[in-house]
């Protein structure tokens, strides 16, 4: 039942005291006439409504959540506590600089650690999400070429395996996109790359490990080829968990990078945000960074980079997300960062190894933090699709992996266990995946019906799009 259907006229919470000054009149021409319909409920009813909704939601706390490319780690509780400190939550963004030295230190320290982990020289924490970071990074590349009056560079190269935000971000910065096909090994096809390189190329957007979970061994050659033609290399940090503490993107030839603090640095996803899409760059791009940079040691203050691309949003980014990420990095430290990476890769390879005798691996080689299975064969033989297996996992108390991504693998299931899962959890998941495989042979019909234990079965998405109902209508 929707919250509006629970509303009863006259109910409510008592939140505000009576007015202790003379009321102010609203000018007639500006007075609201349109009736408001916000629900009228007591606190009991509101609390129960959301408790009921929470029961129909699933978080990392509920169990295994191996969403490929999403890095659904456990979210430490200390980080939540630290982000709730009044010394952070009650601070106005426009307070005098001497009264926000703690916030500035959080930003400066987080930037320093993140630069060290990524091999970058400067970092901005203003971007609010991964996609926002991508747009910021691409704007840095645009600004760089503009500053050199190199106006013919209008194209960004993006592998066909990339996430959809990559091409969309390039478009937002008015670049056209050159899509390069992946080779049979899922990595960048060097010959195809060479074909498109030229003096019209502004840069390359890449993630390494790539979206199929493989480390591209030619990475130094790739980034050099792009540099040699005058372009810059952009690192999509979606998969940084696979290399942090082991390889720095800066050492792979990347000039700009965005991070997802809500993936790699363990801040919670919140059902789809807020995250943080920190953007780092090499020194020669630092003058273009957006917004304000924290400078100074004892008395810290803000400075605008000399040739800044401008603001990407209000104020200084999703600050409380940065607080959580900083608490996380402080906890792990120089030993814990590579340890997390090692175990993320171990867990993925362990699971892959235990499944590859029955499920077809899209690329049967040592993977990084995630691997992709193709259920094309299974579907061909039994009619059971990646979707069917995913939905059946729900009935077995597990969140499905990422489905149908990357687009270059048919019937893809992309599994990223992360390092915060124990062997016991992995073994249990392996048991369920194997059981479902058997079920697909014996009883495919049953899998088409899944899920049957959720509040609803598979929903009619076509109807949702064709006859959109996007809000409740009051009678």
């Amino acid at each position: 039942m929707l919250i509006f259907e629970k509303s009863r006229a006259g109910r409510g919470c008592t939140l505000f005291p009576p007015c202790d000054v003379e009321p102010a009149a609203v000018p007639e021409k500006d007075k609201r006439e349109l009736e408001l319909h916000l629900p009228e409920l007591s606190e009991t009813e509101i609390s129960r409504h959301y408790t009921e909704l929470a029961k129909k939601a699933r978080g990392v706390n509920d169990g295994f959540y191996p969403l490929g490319s999403c890095t659904m780690k456990y979210n430490p509780k200390i980080d939540e506590d630290m982000a709730a400190l009044p010394g952070f939550t009650e601070i106005h963004p426009l307070q005098p600089i001497s009264t926000v030295q703690g916030c500035l230190e959080v930003i400066q320290t987080a930037e320093k650690y993140l630069c060290e982990i990524t091999g970058m020289d400067s970092m901005t924490l203003q971007p609010a999400a991964g996609a926002h970071g991508e747009f910021t990074g691409i704007m840095l590349i645009k600004a760089y070429h503009e500053s050199r009056n190199d106006s013919k560079r209008k194209k960004i190269i993006i592998p066909d395996s990339a996430h959809g935000t990559n091409p969309a971000s390039a478009t937002m910065a008015d670049f056209s996109v050159v899509s390069v096909p992946s080779g049979p090994d899922g990595c960048v096809d060097l010959e195809k790359l060479k074909e498109v390189l030229g003096d019209d190329i502004a840069g390359l957007m890449l993630t390494n490990p790539n979206t199929v979970g493989l480390f591209d061994k030619n990475i130094l050659e790739i980034t050099k080829l792009v540099h040699d033609c005058g372009g810059l290399n952009y690192y999509d940090g979606a998969n940084l968990n696979a290399v942090m503490g082991v390889v720095k993107p800066g050492d792979m030839g990347f000039d700009v990078i965005h991070l997802n603090l809500h993936k790699t640095f363990s801040t919670p996803h919140g059902g789809g945000g807020p995250g943080s899409g920190a953007v780092g760059c090499k020194a020669f791009l630092a003058d273009f960074l957006p917004s304000l940079m924290v400078v100074g040691e004892k008395e810290k203050h803000f400075e605008k980079p000399k040739k800044s691309i401008g603001e990407m949003k209000n104020f200084y980014g999703n600050f409380l997300v940065v607080v959580r990420a900083l608490a996380y990095i402080k906890t792990l430290g120089k030993e814990g960062v590579p340890e997390a990476c090692h175990n993320a890769v171990l867990n993925a390879n362990y699971m892959m190894d235990k499944l590859k005798d029955i499920y077809t691996m899209a690329y049967d080689e040592v993977c990084m933090h995630e691997f992709v299975m193709s259920l094309e064969d299974l579907k061909h033989k039994t009619g059971v699709s990646a979707m069917d297996i995913a939905k059946a996992l729900l009935d077995n108390g597990m969140h499905p992996p990422t489905m149908y991504f990357p687009l270059i693998v048919h019937e893809a299931l992309m599994i990223e266990p992360t390092e915060t899962e124990s062997k016991d959890t992995l073994d249990d998941a392996i048991r369920v995946y194997r059981m479902l495989y058997e079920e697909a042979q014996k009883n495919p019909e049953k899998l088409h019906e899944a899920p049957v234990t959720m509040p609803v079965g598979r929903l009619d998405e076509v109807k949702a799009a064709r006859e959109p109902v996007l809000r409740y209508e009051w009678k």
Binding site: F16, R32, H49, G59, G164, G272, K313, P455, V456
Partner: protein
């Protein structure tokens, strides 16, 4: 050092050997040596939970919490009912992913559907998305969504919150849209300038209402002028003001945007906040961002899914008009809980209290020489002009633990009151200012 890896070293070794590796080095052997780190990271050693708590608390204590705040300028201290934090701390919400797997995400999806409904209710618009990053990016995305093949220019009031103005500028520089700022006149957007510059190349007109100075714009007149010229009209509004001020729909807007921070989100040194974005039905397919729709399963049970995805980057890739995907879902949840808690009476009350306190403070300030800078009507922010240097006045307040208004220049200060500012606090601030010479 702290860690969140459950497997012991012995278990890790056993797992490695079970899949044919003798060590992590061997597991990573396929990564080329020349890119591998040769020494450990130059960051401090890991800490225990107790140490992290100590460290972070120390940082928080280096900030000054002002018990009394008269500063807004884009971030507002309103009262946040306890139920808001209670709901958004629920782990099923806090630690869940974007609701792609609809069957196990009905709670998140329904809460967004309810949020969308509330935003439509507030703004009077037909369709709301599930949020964007903040008010600034909402304005920038709104400008981008109004672009047409032959209309590539936006006219934007210079009386937008400055970061919003700058963000619109950045986005337009990115996508190549032309941008012209409408100057101010007497604390309002200059209507004559607008009239003179509206032509068939204009895709949209964007204003903030109440504007950056808190003043009420001639919002209806701007709507009529924009529409006569065939341009879309975007209003960036303060959501609390919608408890008593006309909705964007009533003023004639095509798109309504704003920052949702006043609706239950803490100041938090600028974020996370949330941008709301809603529009008329006829342009809904241009609306960026996630949208939740109602549908049903085979058995006819009602359910919610992410919908109209043909607009979005994961389908359209480089042809998408925006790259936005997941953004501020938990903040949208906070806003929905806030709006449920205040209800229709409470939102009006918050708005009435805020404007009453601001008008009281303005009158009291006038008595001591901080005169209103503009004649225009205002909501809960206003500008004073005074012979007392702004910095001096504000320093006197700061000394007494009061964050005064936002200094616009040497003489002008932008003040703000909300329902949390009581008469006593206002009188106290005025008394302190009176003694500043």
């Amino acid at each position: 050092m702290g860690k969140y890896v459950p497997n012991t070293e012995a278990e890790q070794k056993a797992m490695l050997s079970e899949i044919g590796f003798s060590s992590f080095d061997e597991l990573f052997a396929h990564v080329p040596e020349e890119v591998k780190l040769k020494k450990e990271l130059d960051i401090p050693s890991g800490l225990s939970e107790l140490e992290v708590r100590r460290d972070m608390t120390k940082l928080a204590e280096k900030n000054k919490i002002f018990p009394l705040i008269f500063r807004g300028a884009g971030a507002y201290r309103h009262f946040i009912p306890s139920i808001v934090k209670s709901v958004i701390s629920k782990e099923n919400f806090l630690t869940s992913y974007t609701p792609y797997q609809a069957e196990t995400s009905q709670g998140v999806l329904q809460s967004i559907f309810e949020y969308q409904t509330m935003i439509c209710d507030l703004t009077g618009m037909d369709v709301s998305n599930a949020s964007v990053y903040d008010g600034a990016t909402a304005a920038a995305e709104a400008v981008a969504m109004c672009r047409e093949r032959k209309r590539k220019k936006a006219l934007v009031s210079s009386l937008m919150q400055p970061d919003t103005l700058e963000t619109v500028k950045t986005y337009c520089h990115g996508n190549g849209m032309e941008l012209e700022f409408i100057p101010e006149k007497d604390g309002l957007t200059d209507i004559d300038y607008l009239k003179a510059h509206l032509d068939p190349s204009i895709a949209c007109v964007l204003i903030q209402h109440p504007n950056f100075y808190g003043n009420l714009e001639p919002a209806r007149q701007i709507a009529d002028l924009s529409h006569e010229a065939g341009a879309k009209y975007i209003m960036s509004v303060n959501p609390i003001s919608l408890g008593i001020l006309k909705s964007p729909k009533e003023y004639g807007a095509d798109v309504a945007v704003g920052d949702g921070q006043p609706l239950g989100l803490s100041l938090a040194f600028g974020g996370p906040y949330l941008g709301f974005m809603a529009c008329l039905d006829k342009i809904k397919r241009n609306l960026p961002g996630r949208i939740v729709g109602q549908t049903n399963d085979k058995e006819g049970r009602i359910g919610y899914v992410l919908t109209l995805q043909a607009r979005e980057q994961h389908i359209r890739r480089e042809k998408a008009s925006s790259n936005i995907c997941s953004n501020q879902a938990l903040c949208a949840l906070a806003v929905a809980v806030y709006l449920s808690a205040v209800g229709k009476q409470g939102l009006r009350q918050a708005a009435e209290l805020s404007t009453a306190k601001a008008h009281y403070m303005a009158k009291e300030l006038e008595k001591i020489g901080f005169r209103p800078a503009y004649k225009a009507d205002f909501f809960h922010e206003f500008v004073t002009v005074s012979e007392t240097p702004s910095e001096k006045a504000l320093a006197a307040l700061e000394k007494q633990g009061i964050l005064g208004g936002y200094p616009l220049d040497e003489k002008r200060i932008l003040w703000c009151c909300t329902e949390v500012n009581d008469k006593r606090g206002i009188d106290e601030a005025v008394q302190i200012l009176k003694e500043v010479k």
